[in-house]
Amino acid sequence: MKKAPTVITGTVGMDAHVIGTKVLSRALRDAGFNVVELGMQVSPEEFINVTQETNADAILMSSLYGMAELDLKGFNDKLMEAGLRDVILYIGGNLVIGRYDPKEAEVIFKKLGFDRVYPPEADIDAAIIDLKNDLKTKGKM
């Protein structure tokens, strides 16, 4: 049997909203993942460093305060520089300030390198199924 995939969770930037990432972490653990839970206010650099240290397969970021795009300026390039081109990247939450169309947010964050972009109150179980499928496609599960 392959070893359980390692995933990193956390709320990016200066955002203190933590409940979403706590619930997600618990659900991922229940689903058999090895979860490295970074909690709130995690810098993009910390995500990258911890991914390198733990050889993680995926990063699942949360953001609720609308400034994720500012926090993640150049994130894709930094990932490439760190040699993490292969890591699966998800983000979810309130990703833009104001009342916005989730489809617009999806375009913005896919450009930043994210594989999947989730709106607020997305179904966690469905996201975990997505993650398993994406890991299988990459031969990591």
Partner: protein, 486 residues
């Protein structure tokens, strides 16, 4: 009885002045603050700009105002936003700062603010008060006839600009809700290192008001821990010279509990202020607050209902203010128009219901009030025991040992061994008591109430019940009755 006291390291006036200047020197706009001129400016303000006087006037006249949240980075747009609030009947106006300002990242703010001003876009999630400085912020305050309160940051720039609230004492919000690594000892040090700025102003005849938040109940959870923290915040603020206070009471959506807690919180705060010798600190009102998770952006009907629920609780409890967000809370930062429509709805309830001066006398409220009061007294007694009469020492030990504890905290130094769920009627109960010193008969009361829900749902309440309850109120369903069409 043990002598009640508050540990405090008083510093001398020279050191106080030096520390105040150091704080202001963190950004060039600090130079715009001249302490004596700030006192003179505060004294020149009309009563309609002085927070505590506005709250007392509302209470005396049997009226209420929304206390909203609003902040946008560009000065002209901020003035427009606040003018819109005033036009919707709001006389208590917030200046919500952006998240970077709250964390002192002024250089980053400066860069983004420049981009905001050149593109006209609101790229920050609030008004960057420090970078804007005194001169510009006075323009905002002089443009609108209402009282202003800085939210999140502001310090003496806010005071010098003519805002009339300021924070002294221990703020559990910073420790329990917004910080990842702060220890309770660090909270004590940051709040008690004798800054005494509020006292300095009070000595010169300027009374700055403060709202008490306590440790936020981040999810359905009985309010006793929060009320204990309101009391700790009140006495530590009073010790530093704060003369006007009012509690926010976090409404969790069960109306009987919410009304009971609104009655209980100011009563117990008054009692403990008096016990500690602060008879001259005024409690100038009560402000119910809509705290649990807000409906999603797409659910406009739910958003309105949620705001109107809190407004109704405020009106029925004869409060003088209600802490409300707008229908855009789920979407992020509100626009002028969504603020206007939200606060007109609230004002409708204030004018129609509040002014009826309804007397509410319900046995259920008495029971909830008694239960919470017993819990609050039990926790506070243990805190004073742990501190040998010193409430601050006791609080440090209580947090470290989980005698004071709250669920879902982002802070790694919190025990987080407690958990709340709703009962069959949607009231908040303790599922896990952790180390809270709740008396046995009260524990039994909670268990019985949870058992009623378990019977209705045919399953034991556990962690998954608590998770489901996170969304209960925002989705508009907190009681145990199954949906009509099932």
């Amino acid at each position: 009885m043990k002598k009640l006291r508050i540990r405090n390291k008083k510093i001398d006036d020279d050191l106080l002045m030096k520390k105040r200047r150091e704080e202001l020197d963190k950004w060039p706009t600090g130079k715009e603050v001249d302490f004596d001129e700030a006192v003179a400016y505060q004294k020149s303000l009309p009563d309609s700009k002085i927070w505590w006087k506005v709250m007392v006037k509302l209470r005396e006249e049997g009226r209420m105002s929304v206390f909203p949240r609003a902040g946008t980075p560009i000065l002209e747009n901020m003035i427009e936003l606040c003018r819109g609030l005033r036009d919707s009947g709001v006389v208590l106006i917030p200046v919500t700062t952006d998240s970077y300002t709250r964390l002192g990242q002024f250089e980053k703010v400066e860069e983004i603010l420049k981009e905001c001003n050149s593109t006209g876009k609101a790229l920050l999630n609030g008004y960057p008060i420090i970078n804007q400085g005194v001169e510009k912020t006075r323009k905002l305050i002089e443009s609108i006839d209402a009282a202003f309160s800085p939210r999140g940051a502001g310090g003496e720039i806010a005071i010098a600009s003519g805002m009339t609230t300021a924070e002294a004492g221990m703020g559990f919000l910073n420790f329990g809700s917004y910080s990842k690594n702060m220890t309770i000892q660090e909270l004590v040090e940051s709040s008690q290192n004798g800054m005494r700025v509020i006292g300095w102003y009070a000595d010169r005849g300027v009374i700055l008001c403060k709202d008490l938040h306590g440790w936020l109940p981040s999810a359905p959870f009985p309010l006793s821990v929060n009320i204990v923290c309101l009391i700790i915040e009140a006495v530590t603020a009073a010790e530093q010279g704060q003369k006007a206070l009012y509690p926010l009471v976090h409404c969790m959506g069960n109306m009987v509990q919410d009304l009971a807690w609104i009655r209980l919180a100011p009563r117990l705060i008054r009692e403990y202020l008096d016990k500690f010798g602060y008879q001259d600190t005024m409690i100038i009102g009560t402000c119910p607050a809509q705290t649990p998770l807000f409906p999603v952006a797409m659910d406009m009907g739910g958003a309105f209902a949620y705001l109107c629920y809190a407004s109704m609780v405020g009106a029925l409890s004869k409060s003088n203010a209600v802490d409300l967000r707008s229908i855009d809370e789920g979407a992020g930062v509100p626009t002028k128009d969504t603020n206007a429509v939200s606060y007109r709805a609230a004002k409708w309830i204030f004018d129609v219901v509040r002014e009826q001066q309804i007397e509410i006398d319900v046995k259920g409220i008495d029971t909830e009030e008694k239960v919470t009061e017993t819990e609050v007294r039990a926790i506070l007694d243990r805190i004073l025991d742990l501190g040998d009469g010193d409430i601050v020492d006791g609080t440090v030990k209580a947090v470290e040992s989980g005698v004071l504890d709250s669920p879902w905290s982002p802070n790694l130094n919190v025990k987080d061994q407690v958990m709340g769920v709703r009962d069959a009627r949607g009231a908040c109960r303790y599922l896990e008591f952790g180390n809270l010193p709740i008396p046995d008969e009260i524990k039994e009361f909670h268990r019985e109430k949870i058992a009623e829900r378990e019977k209705l749902e045919g399953r034991k309440a556990d962690y998954h019940t608590a998770i489901k309850d996170l969304w209960g109120l925002s989705k508009g369903k907190i009681a145990g009755l199954p949906p009509y069409d099932k």
